[in-house]
């Protein structure tokens, strides 16, 4: 009987752990911001979530005729970083209830980094809220999950 109780507890523990794990990993995938200019792949590294640009609608800078780089970075020494592969979402931690927080979002258009919180609205929709200091001072962008075309 004791063994049975222990096994049940263990099974319950693993089931809870696994479901929490799979809920937190729902963020993983390829997403498109509302402007449709880029596609961002969110992945997990060392227990946190990061999103990198994997596709650009216009990959070539019309001025330089070369692949786009992070030319607006406030740190001049980092302006050669290519935008393709750029990690624009960084350090998101799963907080439960479909929310990932404590991260930042970088806007390569102006070189600004904002505090950011991500909410999973449904399986295929993310609310990405970039804000300044307090969440009320922010803007929400809705990102859509991408999948193989049917």
């Amino acid at each position: 009987m004791k063994k049975f109780t222990l096994l049940t507890l263990l099974a319950l523990f693993f089931a809870t752990f696994l479901s929490a794990q799979s809920e937190s990993d729902q963020l993983i995938g390829v997403w498109e911001p509302s402007n449709g200019k880029a596609r961002v792949k969110i992945e997990k590294i060392a227990d946190k979530y990061y999103g990198k640009i994997v596709w650009l609608r216009e990959p070539i800078d019309p001025v330089t005729n070369a692949p786009k780089v992070d030319k607006n970075n406030p740190d001049e020494s980092m302006r050669a970083v290519p935008l393709k592969g750029y990690r624009m979402l960084k350090d998101f931690v799963f907080k439960g209830s479909g929310e990932w927080a404590d991260g930042t979002i970088y806007d390569p258009e102006n070189g600004s980094t904002y505090s950011c919180v991500i909410k999973l609205k449904d399986d295929n929709t993310l609310d990405i809220r970039g804000y300044v200091g307090v969440k009320a001072l922010g803007r929400t962008d809705v990102w859509k999950r991408l999948g193989a075309k049917k």
Binding site: E32, G36, K37, V93, E109, R129, L146, K149, K150
Partner: protein, 371 residues
């Protein structure tokens, strides 16, 4: 000083969620990099097939939106002539009953704009603003019919407090609707002697527009405005554009304002152009009689405006320009303050015809800008 305080405050607030989230976690070995075929990202579609794309409210390189703005506006010396109270046709030149040498007119300008709903398919912002104009200088009364308006300006100044709202509604990927509305209380009121809300003045605009690409949005619409001092209905044209080299652009909401923009880098820019600025200011119980006037203040400000990032999301803006007086006339509006429409062609008479000479002006503001 204020800057530092605001920055510290923001830093503190931004650290709060981090502190709350501090947790112990074991170090994990790195996850193996997944194999990644870049070309696969080319042929993806929305996982939810019903999902739509919407047109963005901004274009590239526009001067940043302001969440909070704290500024000071300062007009250099100018002269003013005020007619006696009467009934004057536009274009008449009655001899002045009062003259004033204004040393300066200056004051605080505070505004806030907070997004209430900010989504791809709908953006709704609410804002509030408070502007103060204090007059300094000398007044000379030319005859006994003087309404003593200049005295009143010197002793009480003018102020505007109001709320406004902006709604951006994308109509698909390329078209949008922009609605703006504002309610302002303008006059020589003070906190102790507040003005009745029946004198609120309402303005607004409806614009339909297109956003063909990331560097252009244009639109046409109609505005109910007080920017020329008195109520008017005007067609409006929106034209925000950025050149392919991203150095030049325009920010135009004609006729309210029009600027050419030179972008030095994402953290500094220069605007050159003009803005029409005006309101109808209620002056209750002027002089000995129960005369209640509305000063129809409208001016054109030709200017250069330099904006730059001070640090983080704190920006400064410095305007230097020339203020042309368009109108400082006054209408007699009986006590219920019932507004009327004169437009450009109406022949209603003015209670006062006043003239101001033009003046240089400077406006400096510190702003918390939006993402």
């Amino acid at each position: 000083m204020y800057m530092k305080k605001i920055q510290r405050w923001l830093l503190l607030l931004s650290l709060l969620p981090l502190a709350a989230a501090a947790q112990q976690r074991d170090t994990l070995p790195p996850t193996p990099a997944e194999e990644e075929d870049f070309s696969e990202y080319e042929n993806l579609g929305f996982a939810d097939e019903a999902a739509k794309r919407y047109c963005n409210p901004k274009i590239l390189d526009l001067s940043p939106n302001r969440f909070v703005s704290l500024g000071w506006d300062w007009q250099l010396p100018y002269q003013a002539e005020f007619s006696p109270l009467g009934a004057f046709e536009d274009g008449e030149s009655p001899s002045p009953a009062e003259t004033a040498d204004f040393r300066s007119s200056q004051g605080l300008r505070l505004s806030a704009n907070i997004p209430v709903i900010s989504r791809n398919s709908f953006v709704w912002q609410m804002g509030a603003n408070f502007w103060n104009i204090n007059y300094g200088g000398k007044v000379q009364t030319e005859n006994q019919n003087a309404a003593r308006l200049a005295d009143r300006l010197l002793s009480r100044g003018l102020r505007t407090a109001g709320i406004n709202t902006t709604i951006f509604k994308p109509l698909g990927e390329k078209q949008f609707l922009l609605l703006q509305g504002a309610a302002d209380l303008n006059g020589d009121y003070t906190l102790a002697d507040f003005q009745s809300l029946q004198y609120l003045r309402y303005s607004g605009a409806v614009i339909w527009g297109k956003r063909p690409h990331d560097r252009l949005q244009w639109g046409v619409g109609l505005a109910r405005t007080y920017r020329v001092g008195e109520l008017n209905y005007l067609p409006v044209v929106l034209y925000n554009w950025t050149a392919p080299n991203r150095k030049w652009g325009t920010e135009i909401l004609f006729p309210a304002r029009a600027h050419v923009r030179r972008t030095f880098n994402p953290r500094s820019l220069l605007l050159a152009g003009y803005e029409l600025e005006g309101q109808s200011y209620r002056i209750n119980n002027l002089s000995d009689e129960d005369q209640s006037l509305e000063i129809r203040r409208g001016e054109l400000r030709a200017r250069l405006e330099y904006q730059r990032q001070l640090g983080g999301f704190i920006w400064m803006a410095l305007q230097v320009g020339y203020r042309y007086n368009y109108s400082f006339n006054a209408d007699y509006l009986p006590n219920d303050g019932q507004e009327f429409f004169r437009g450009f062609f109406g022949d209603q008479r003015y209670a006062m015809l006043n003239t101001l000479t033009n003046a240089l002006y400077v406006n400096l503001s510190v702003n918390l800008v939006s993402p």
